[in-house]
Amino acid sequence: MSTAKTASTFWRAAGMSYLQYLNKSASTVRMALKEPAKRKALTYEKFGYQKAVWKDGVQGEKVVVGIVQ
C-alpha cells in the first residue's frame, strides 16, 4: 500500500491505516482499566481474519489474512 506524499494525519504519514490507528487507540484504553474489567477487555484484543474465494457456489480454500490494511 503506498503512502500519500502529504498525509493528513501523523499516523497516516507513519504508514498506519485507519484501522491500525483505531485498534491502537482501543488497545490503549484497555491497558488502563481496573480489574476485573481489564481481564475481560483483554480477551477482545486478539482477532484474526480468514479469507475464502467463492466460485460456482463452492467455497474455496480458507486463507488466514495476516493483517487488515
Binding site: T28, V29, L33
Partner: protein, 138 residues
C-alpha cells in the same frame, strides 16, 4: 431520538429512546437531540454522554476510543466504537503511568517512525482518558 450504540463485541443500545447524546467528534464535541441535521462524524478518544428520557434525565457516560457517529434524517443516531468503557473502570494510576511511558517512547523514537506514531496515539488517548476522570497530564 433513537440511539444505536455498538461495539464489535457488544451492543450497548439498540433502538433506545434517549433525550440527547453528546458526541466527542474529531472536529469538536456536539450534542444531538431530535430533528438534528443529518451528520456523519469521526470520533476522537473522549467521553460519550447519553442523557436518558426517563430517570430524571440522568446522564450516562462512556469513554470511547474512537469510531464513528451517524445521525440520520429520522433522528436515529448510530454510534460505533472499537471500545467503550465506563469512567469508573478507568484506573488513574495506570493512565498516568502509561502516559509517562508513552511520552518517553515518543521522545526517543525516530521522527516519523511507526514507533513514534504509536507512542503519540498512546499519549493522546491516555491524555483524553485522564481528562475524562479529572487528571491533568502534560
Amino acid at each position: 431520538m433513537t440511539l444505536n450504540f455498538s461495539l464489535p463485541h457488544e451492543t450497548i443500545y439498540a433502538g433506545a429512546e434517549v433525550s440527547q447524546v453528546i458526541i466527542p467528534g474529531e472536529a469538536g464535541e456536539y450534542g444531538v437531540t431530535v430533528n438534528h441535521v443529518p451528520i456523519i462524524s469521526q470520533l476522537q478518544p473522549g467521553v460519550l454522554q447519553i442523557i436518558h428520557e426517563d430517570g430524571g434525565g440522568e446522564t450516562e457516560k462512556y469513554f470511547v476510543a474512537g469510531g464513528y457517529a451517524l445521525t440520520h434524517e429520522n433522528s436515529v443516531t448510530d454510534v460505533t466504537c472499537p471500545e467503550a468503557v465506563k469512567l469508573d473502570d478507568i484506573d488513574p494510576d495506570a493512565v498516568s503511568k502509561n502516559y509517562d511511558t508513552a511520552k518517553t517512547a515518543h521522545a526517543s523514537a525516530e521522527l516519523g517512525s511507526l514507533a513514534q506514531a504509536e507512542a503519540q496515539i498512546e499519549m493522546e488517548t491516555n491524555k483524553a482518558m485522564g481528562a475524562a476522570i479529572g487528571l491533568t497530564l502534560a
